[in-house]
Symmetry: C2
Subunit: 676 residues, 2 copies
Amino acid sequence: MDDTYRGDETLDRLLRRAGSPLGAARVRRLVRGVVAAPEPFEPDAWMALVAARPGAELAGQLAALRARLAAAADDGLDGPGNEAPARLEALLGELRRRRLHGFIVPRADEHQGEYVPRRAERLAWLTGFTGSAGTAVVLRDRAAVFVDGRYTLQARTEVDAALYEFPPPADGPPGQWIAAHLPPKARLAYDPWLHTPDQVAHLRAACEKAGARLVAAADNPVDAVWRNQPPPPIAPVVAQSTTFTGVTADEKRRRVAATLADEKVDAAVLTAPDSIAWLLNLRGGDVPFTPLALAFAVLNADATVDLFVDRRKLTKGVERHLDKEVTVRGPGAFGAALDRLGGARKTVRVDPAGTPAWVVDRLKKAGARLSRGPDPCALPKARKTPVELKGIRAAHRRDGASLSRFLAWLAATAPDGGVTEMAAAERLEGLRRQGKHFRGLSFPTISGAGANGAIVHYRVTEKTNRDLEPGSLYLVDSGAQYLDGTTDVTRTVAIGEPTDEMRDRFTRVLKGHIAIATARFPKGTTGSQLDTLARRALWEVGLDYDHGTGHGVGAYLCVHEGPQRVSKQPNRVALEPGMVVSNEPGYYKTGAYGIRIENLVTVTPAEAPEGAEKDLLGFETLTLAPIDLTVVEPSLVTGAERAWLDAYHARVREALTPLVDADTARWLETATRPLG
Amino acid sequence: MDDTYRGDETLDRLLRRAGSPLGAARVRRLVRGVVAAPEPFEPDAWMALVAARPGAELAGQLAALRARLAAAADDGLDGPGNEAPARLEALLGELRRRRLHGFIVPRADEHQGEYVPRRAERLAWLTGFTGSAGTAVVLRDRAAVFVDGRYTLQARTEVDAALYEFPPPADGPPGQWIAAHLPPKARLAYDPWLHTPDQVAHLRAACEKAGARLVAAADNPVDAVWRNQPPPPIAPVVAQSTTFTGVTADEKRRRVAATLADEKVDAAVLTAPDSIAWLLNLRGGDVPFTPLALAFAVLNADATVDLFVDRRKLTKGVERHLDKEVTVRGPGAFGAALDRLGGARKTVRVDPAGTPAWVVDRLKKAGARLSRGPDPCALPKARKTPVELKGIRAAHRRDGASLSRFLAWLAATAPDGGVTEMAAAERLEGLRRQGKHFRGLSFPTISGAGANGAIVHYRVTEKTNRDLEPGSLYLVDSGAQYLDGTTDVTRTVAIGEPTDEMRDRFTRVLKGHIAIATARFPKGTTGSQLDTLARRALWEVGLDYDHGTGHGVGAYLCVHEGPQRVSKQPNRVALEPGMVVSNEPGYYKTGAYGIRIENLVTVTPAEAPEGAEKDLLGFETLTLAPIDLTVVEPSLVTGAERAWLDAYHARVREALTPLVDADTARWLETATRPLG
């Protein structure tokens, strides 16, 4: 293949020869979008968007063009040196021009997704903070970065403290800080595409407290000063086979539409790309770690759908897959469609927790009746079908085999020293990559040795990379996307001999894990009701962990999905059979070590004894990988806990031994022995 | 004393002679209010509102007048026969006259109190339903009574099913039913004094779903057709000594006002009479079982208070007690005061969970800025002072002694048969009455034998009264108001020999009770997070109970108070030292028996072991009374549970033995023995 780009004329010629309807200029624009998407699992799959069969020469030129445009784009986030002062100055200049006193920069895109496209990494561009949740508030005379407990350490490392304050999480979300620091009559702006109406209401109340005004910015002031901001991403959209979903898109549309009709709702605006991916059995690659395409949709009560998506992303297969009840329109047609709903006085479902304020404002202005309520896809998406569960179990066997190969290697290698966090993460990814249906990681691997393990959302970098040292704990939280399921698993292993304190803490975390794994609870119980079971053994000795106990997980979709969760934060969604959640209590000793034991579990009916009056539910553990017995203190474990642990390990051994090499099998034999 | 009323002229003469400023006509009006208040603990205390020292003759005439007016008023709730059809017809006629399609009748007064004055018993007057929570929705062609799980049985007994439907609780609150049955364009009315803005929003959404309109009724249509509706109640208002409160009203006003100032709030409208009673160290008797005076107040950020209360209720002592920073105004001045707050563009705190929509609407219309947030007295009221806790502990010793005398008598008497639920409740009340500082019961005693025990909020009547039969369980949930504290305790005892199933269930309830009593949890934990601990042993065998695990309790105030609670319903209020909550898991087998074990507990700091990172809290059990060991199955009890039970019983024995008679002491000795 050529590795230099030979110019647009050559490209034009090759495009014509390949029968592509596109010319070089349009291909350049498309490639800029491709570059703005995350690195795809199949590097050249996007070329199908240019021509059905590009041929070697065209493919070579396309690759070369991509490389050239990628290099040109590369000053986005990774510019040389600390550009934060200049960027902040530029933003302040823009605000002055607009007579704004300040602007709010959330780490959010128009879809309120956890992973956002490069274009939406405004918070990172401005402040350097790369965590998955946070907000900057920039005022004329001071600025602050707000992050939650997970990210306090990371924010201090990444963000220039000379430019930004870090109000402690105890001070609550930005509202209180805004109320305290915004001068009376000042105008604080927000981008209505990046905030939900609930968030706007919170911000507005804060401004009112200060006697100031919250105003919607017509366009984002950061975009105005971000030179070379990436365009919206372009990654191929493909159909997800009913072999994996178990239910056709047609059936899903009908079922969800029926729930709308039941509630006398005419249409639902879908702004969550994973809802759209689930509903239409589509997958894409617009954001990292998650196979979804950024899009909006309107699901009508007659089961028809208007899908607003960049047509250039659609592969031929998808156009065949989408039946005639799904109308594809460009993203630019979305606003007019909302206006039409309003003009026809339709009752429109919007989810106040996820819909951009822009959408709600537009619908209101157009005259729509708003039905505020949950995204109608959220709950059916969370209840996995039997076919999905079959795939998820298969994915977990493959994933567990890869993880076990990794852990066996680690056990053999790490005690001698020289294994780094980065090398470990890379080895694990390499092993996973060999698994059938693998499509990439489901989130950045957390590979934390010693004190780094105590950073809950640690992400190893060249600078922080450390050796797995004897006498320390190593925490690895990782997961993958497979066509048949999404995994997320954490194991904490001792490198060499753990201390008594480590064993005590690990065992308490394990007791919490087992309490969730073995919980039996009546239908109607929420994850919030179960959360405490996971913490009790830690509470007893005055310890706790500062994160939720479990999050929902998609089926080859988002590794974090709702609406259910296991958390001390109130959640009113009952656990239902087929839902998948993580079970991940932990304990973190700052500067010393971190412990987390995470399995995914699915809600199942549980056998109820004679005399039972309630339908009981429980969990089936999906994740299959040994839990390090060398860090378990047997004297702290009850008989019932021991029984669970031994049975789990027997299951792990039985399921994984046939899938691994002989060395790993031998290691598995020991690693899954009954607790001594 | 005279027992006949000798006419207004005589009364006038006696009033003049006693130096009363009132004439007979005003006294008549006052006495009508007295009659509309619940039966007071001191029957003649109200006479102090007429004259400082009435003298025997005047007192006799006042008593005679009261008896006469009481007899005349007595057609209110207890009219002969079933008047429900006529009353419903009258209401429908009134609605037709007002061109309304329907009206909502909540069991609520203007203060959203649990106990309401007779005047506000509109739901009971209309439908016959006397439970403490419920709503009727009356439409032209159908009507329904909505009650929660506690009251489904009672509603079916009390309400005429020919007139009212009983939509099942699973159907949710009235909204869904309204949306389904209200015709398009119809006007459904509500009384804005009886609903909070949140409730109105819920009702409005339901009406909108139906394409209908929710409208505020200018005055309550039930009042228009309720002949002989009682006037607002009049019971003497007295000062509560700082001997019991520990903090002066002056200090409280200053502290709460400071929290308002901190939040840049100019004033708080207080509509909860218990908040006002707490804030101003006042007690009254306007509603049953709770020593409070119905009133409204505005607390200003400068710590001054405008108190809107019927002056006629104030005893001389109170006028001395209220210092010059508290201005007393008549209830009629309340609206104008809200207008003044609005006119001055004040920022006014209103609690959306308790403030009548009328108040919020009026403030808005007048131009006030609303600060929606919790009643600023709720949290400080919930955190009992050391002096309050000292009183509460003393009250519990007295209460426990009375309850133990009752239980000892029951143990000696009931197995022979012939003790009825009613007789038992009366005996228990009689014993409590002898206790120092006793001021009445804190709620109607639940005295449930056998199957009646399974009715969670059972209230014995002549019709339902049954014998405590051998081989059955007897549940008694009762409490009292003492000047130094409010109690609430439930014991379930076996009459004769319990069955194995009863012992299994009782022991599981006890395990839940002990799990709460022994819980240790980090500062910041909410009651919602603890609720599951109380249910786990029941869940294991497919059982549960359909009520919360714990409610807050006032200090000589409401037996149910917030803001904290222990419940599976999400509650975001952290438990704090000094808060008092009940610990009352249960199990109810419909048609067979009910079990509940309830102690009050207070939140205390807990000792944290070495290495603890969190401040730990736990509970101190306040209630002192034996738990029936004959219904405990020792094989189900863990060592730690047994240790708690034995230690609790030792404490009960030690505290109560000095306070009881010899027979009871002997019984206590056995009843508090270590679990065999």
